[in-house]
């Protein structure tokens, strides 16, 4: 897509920002990326350059998960060897093609998802047993161009939406998402980490914190908390408001499912912040997956807050939100 920014020499922007002593956003330094690769361009010299992940706190987890290059054949093999996730009943009502189109469009428009997107065929092949794609696949363009901004009309219909979303999976996935034995050593790595979540007591489960998370989301991003998901995209919990009005968040929840499905396919998160965000032009809102490392030094303990935030998204506000999240969880601030 011929986006306005495609006319800009992003390397020059990155270089100029560096010369001003300003940090360089990841997106401004991506032009040298090889087709199909997330590999960033060489960092320009100068103070404040944050082309390298370690100097950009919220990019740190990208490095941990190896995002920065296309998966190697070994990676692909490793992905294939991952245990097939359990089927989740919500998926039976998904219109997979529509969300895939949305992801692909988002990538074409300059989203940071510059890795290979599973084709519809591949995605359908990888669906859990019992999952079937809906017969027709609405195009995302029709959503973007719709005069009617009501989600109920523009989003695919989901006959089973009367059932509270994610409800059927909650008990099972809480167990599945239990991380390997947690470490008693404090995490010393930079990035988005927290102190260990107590195994017992009233704070034993992140899901117990949903009300706190919801308040933080509203307070710091004016957004809506959609759900808490484990690293495989399985929902752990969701706010009562969502259960009360599932239709309101239908399109976003579909997209959460699709995005996390991609994570599961690659065996790791696609990225963080803007990397794991999808813009809905029709609704002038963003869907973001906010990562939480539930147990320090345990990269398998990633969980995600699925948050719907107003557009345009402000990284500064998200930063403050993450700081507040850290504080609420009792974690350290690097």
């Amino acid at each position: 897509m011929n986006s306005p920014a495609s006319w800009i020499d992003r390397d020059e922007v990155a270089r100029l920002l560096s010369s001003l002593g300003e940090p360089v956003p990841h997106a401004a330094a991506q032009q040298a990326t090889e087709p199909g690769s997330l590999e960033a361009s060489p960092a320009p010299d100068g103070p404040g350059t944050t082309n390298e992940p370690e100097s950009q706190p919220w990019m740190e987890p990208l490095e941990r998960f190896g995002v920065g290059a296309l998966p190697s054949e070994e990676d692909e093999d490793a992905c294939e060897e991952l245990p097939e996730p359990p089927p989740f009943s919500l998926a039976q009502s998904l219109r997979v093609a529509a969300t895939l189109t949305a992801v692909r469009t988002w990538a074409d428009e300059g989203g940071l998802l510059k890795r290979r997107i599973p084709t519809e065929t591949e995605a359908l092949d990888s669906l859990p047993p019992g999952l079937e794609a809906a017969p027709e696949a609405p195009q995302v363009e029709s959503l973007a161009n719709s005069e009617d901004s009501g989600q109920a009309e523009s989003a695919p219909t989901l006959p089973e939406m009367e059932t509270p979303l994610f409800m059927e999976q909650e008990a099972a996935t809480e167990e599945e998402s239990a991380a390997p034995p947690d470490s008693t050593e404090p995490d010393t790595s930079p990035g988005f980490t927290f102190s260990a979540i107590p195994e017992t007591g009233p704070d034993a489960k992140l899901t117990d914190r949903m009300a706190d998370f919801e308040k933080l989301v509203i307070q710091h991003t004016e957004g809506t908390l959609l759900a808490l998901l484990d690293r495989d995209g399985h929902p752990l919990s969701f706010p009562q408001a969502l259960a009360d009005d599932p239709a309101t968040n239908r399109e976003f929840v579909q997209s959460v499912t699709q995005m996390t499905r991609s994570m599961r396919r690659w065996g790791r998160p696609l990225g963080l912040d803007h990397d794991t965000a999808m813009h809905f032009p029709t609704h002038s809102e963003w869907l973001c997956l906010i990562p939480i490392l539930a147990r320090p030094q345990d990269e398998t303990s990633w969980v995600f807050l699925a948050v719907r935030v107003p557009h345009p998204i402000d990284p500064f506000l998200l930063d403050r939100f993450r700081s507040a999240l850290r504080s609420t969880l009792g974690g350290r601030t690097e």
């Binding site: 986006s3 306005p4 922007v13 920002l17 001003l20 956003p25 002038s284 998200l318």
Partner: protein, 279 residues
């Protein structure tokens, strides 16, 4: 001293609208403000009064090498807010030959800086001197940018605005190269002419925020709104257009509050002084 120069590489970004309304918002919040119309077109003056468009002002001062506080003070025009005074562009600004000659003066930016400093020393004791500039980042606008202590950069939420962003960045880098630590600081970028319901505008906003670090942006952004036309026609800041100001008018209050924070205008130790609503 806070000499805030409002500059953009494009025309039509709403610099003058921003200058006038931001100045009014700051003054209505109790800040003492002098708005200098350094755009030879005199847009800010034309936005406020017929008197302002015919009075002596900034470029008349710039013709002199001896610039002092008393002369600057004598040219300031009052407004209905005692905290808000205005220095119009002046007669010289309307004389192309004089402006051409002025533009050749090697010490022009020193004169500009002297005027800003003198304005800061006037009896009003302004918290901030706001300078509206002509479009562009070469010649006169560039010299005005060099003379300020801070830069406020309205950016057009339009593909053209985004595509010309490197032009502004190059100018900023040149300022930094030429002046080092003396270069003006970037107070922030404010997106203007934002059209919330238009996908292209949304896309441009998103791409702006991907290209520049988040802290550079003000939370407030200025929409394209017909009320600005009405306010311009009436010759008033948008907050004075209606007895009960519209939502758009309050955007400048938010911008003013953010700017106060960025310029550290808040008085330390006074943040917790409040008056109870009852009892």
């Amino acid at each position: 001293m806070n000499h805030l120069v409002i500059a953009s590489q494009n025309g039509g970004t709403g610099r003058t609208t921003l200058s006038v309304n931001l100045s009014y918002a700051l003054a209505s919040r109790g800040r003492r403000v002098i708005l200098i119309d350094a755009d030879p077109l005199g847009g800010a003056g034309f936005s406020l009064s017929t008197k302002a468009s015919t009075a002596q002002g900034f470029y008349d001062l710039a013709l002199d090498r001896d610039i002092d506080r008393v002369r600057v003070e004598s040219l300031l025009l009052g407004t209905r807010l005692p905290e808000f005074k205005f220095l119009p562009a002046g007669h010289a600004a309307q004389q192309p030959a004089i402006m051409d000659r002025l533009d050749q003066e090697p010490d022009l930016q020193d004169r500009f800086r002297a005027i800003f400093t003198a304005a800061s020393d006037t009896s009003l004791g302004p918290d901030v001197v706001i300078v509206d500039t002509p479009a562009g980042v070469r010649g006169l606008p560039y010299r005005l940018m060099r003379s300020g202590s801070h830069l406020l950069l309205p950016q057009l939420a339009h593909p053209l605005g985004l595509r010309t962003l490197p032009v502004m960045l190059r100018a900023l880098a040149q300022l930094r190269t030429g002046q080092g630590k003396e270069a003006p600081m970037i107070a922030g970028v404010v997106l203007t002419m934002v059209e919330p319901g238009v996908p292209v505008s949304l896309e441009v906003q998103r791409e702006f925020r991907e290209l520049l670090p988040g802290h550079m942006f003000f939370d407030a952004q200025i929409p394209r709104d017909r009320e600005f036309l009405q306010a311009s026609q009436a010759g008033v800041p948008i907050a004075l257009l209606q007895r009960h100001p519209s939502a758009t008018a309050f955007i400048f209050d938010q911008l003013a509050a953010e700017l106060e924070s960025r310029l550290a205008l808040n008085n330390p130790g006074h943040e917790n002084e409040f008056t109870r609503l009852m009892d």
